[in-house]
């Protein structure tokens, strides 16, 4: 990602301040995976400076797919489900799972929601083994219900990030929750430079 001589061409990263880009910059600069947090922002931005003019930013999932599919960017850091969908559509793309980063998403019912019971029923259905199996097969994202894989076709299970736990790194959402504003301010200041 950071070797422009070996891998020329534009690389595409997520435009907004969010977990992911800073982590891979540090990894590329030699920080061991278990020493990522607390994030050394100074070091990360210095590393990012070396490829700044080779970055095309994607602002949303669809844009990341469009940039890769059109060849506008040669490679990048994408949500695996987006690449999965491109592959399904027959685009000539592939994934390197080396040092893949994972994060969990959450389903939320806000306080005082009008149809709380129905929402809770939906959560139960969505997180059930059957619901998660269908979601994982369609999206390429790993199921959160450990029983879901038993209900999925074997080749669909193989396509999940779960099949690539070697060198997999979990993003520290607690750290990000605490330092969100501080990182965001520096992130946008660096981008605008």
């Amino acid at each position: 990602m950071f070797d422009t001589k070996k891998f020329p061409g534009k690389r595409t990263f997520y435009k907004w301040s969010a977990p992911g880009v800073i982590e891979i910059a540090l990894l590329a600069d030699g920080v061991p995976a278990d020493k990522l947090y607390p994030l050394d922002l100074e070091r990360a931005f210095k590393k990012l400076d070396t490829i700044k003019s080779d970055i095309v930013w994607w602002g949303g999932g669809a844009e990341s797919q469009q940039l890769i599919a059109s060849g506008e960017a040669t490679f990048g850091q994408l949500w695996n489900g987006r690449v999965f969908a491109l592959e399904k559509d027959g685009a000539d793309v592939g994934v390197s799972w080396n040092q893949n980063l994972t994060a969990a998403d959450v389903l939320v019912v806000p306080k005082g929601a009008k149809n709380k019971d129905a929402a809770m029923k939906f959560l139960a259905a969505a997180s059930s083994p059957a619901g998660q199996a269908k979601f994982a097969e369609a999206s390429g994202y790993a199921p959160i219900n450990t029983k879901a894989k038993a209900e999925m076709p074997a080749d669909a299970v193989k396509a999940l990030p779960d099949a690539h736990v070697d060198g997999q790194i979990n993003l520290d959402m607690n750290y990000w929750a605490e330092h969100r504003d501080e990182i965001a301010t520096r992130w946008y200041a660096w981008q605008a430079k």
Binding site: K10, W57, S70, A184, Q191, A192
Partner: protein, 286 residues
Amino acid sequence: MSVETRQSLPTFRMPAGFNGLLPALVLIVLFFVVPVMALLLRSVTEPEPGLQNYAALLGDGTYARVFFNTFLVASVVTIVTILVAFPVAWMLAIMPSALASIVFGVIILSMWTNLLTRTYAWMVLLQRTGVINRTLMAAGISDQPLPLINNLTGITIGMVYIMLPFMILPLVGTLRAIDPMTLRAAALCGASPFQAFRRILLPLSLPGIAAGGLMVFVMSLGYFVTPALLGGTSNMMLAEMIAQMIQSLLNWGLGSAAAFILLVVTMALYALQLRLVGARRMSGGA
């Protein structure tokens, strides 16, 4: 409102025709003045009462760069627009009117097409794998894709194209009002075409250039879609920064303060425009 009061004290009288303005005025107060006041209020009360949002905006290098970028882009766009629009406006002014109305139609038609569609069309043309770069590379003119997008070049091309009608229309009005005999007289007196342009045509068309130029400049200051899609992160303009502050950082106070600064600058420029050109000329009475 127009009933005369026979008082010796000076009274405030509504100008004639005020009643007709009422519906529009109510609309503007409800949907513009009130929200702007709310914005102003937010900018001095969030997260706590005080002017810290303005201090943060004016004292920070990053924001200063965004302000600078905004004025840079608006200036470049205005200058390029004037340079491109002038010859077009001159041709339109001296063309037979049947032909001119067709050209006018084409110019107006472009304004009626959706802005987002037009900007995306530019993306297709300008990107590295876009029509222009593919053609240039296939023809062997360049061996690498030219950087036409995600930078100032991209913003300028996209915005000049959108702003052109706003420059051409007032210019044509001004140029048509110039007596062609003045140019003939200049030629008879031995002026070269360039001298005639510089000493006759240019000074006489200055009100049109000023009117169109300020309009383009002021519109460019607050532009969002085109710079966001055709510019890079280092060309960020104020409107984009405001969106980022509110959508991504949820910092309503700072975003409101930035929006209010933009509004004040815009109003100041508009006031300058009124003074320079005069309200009557602005509205097309040149």
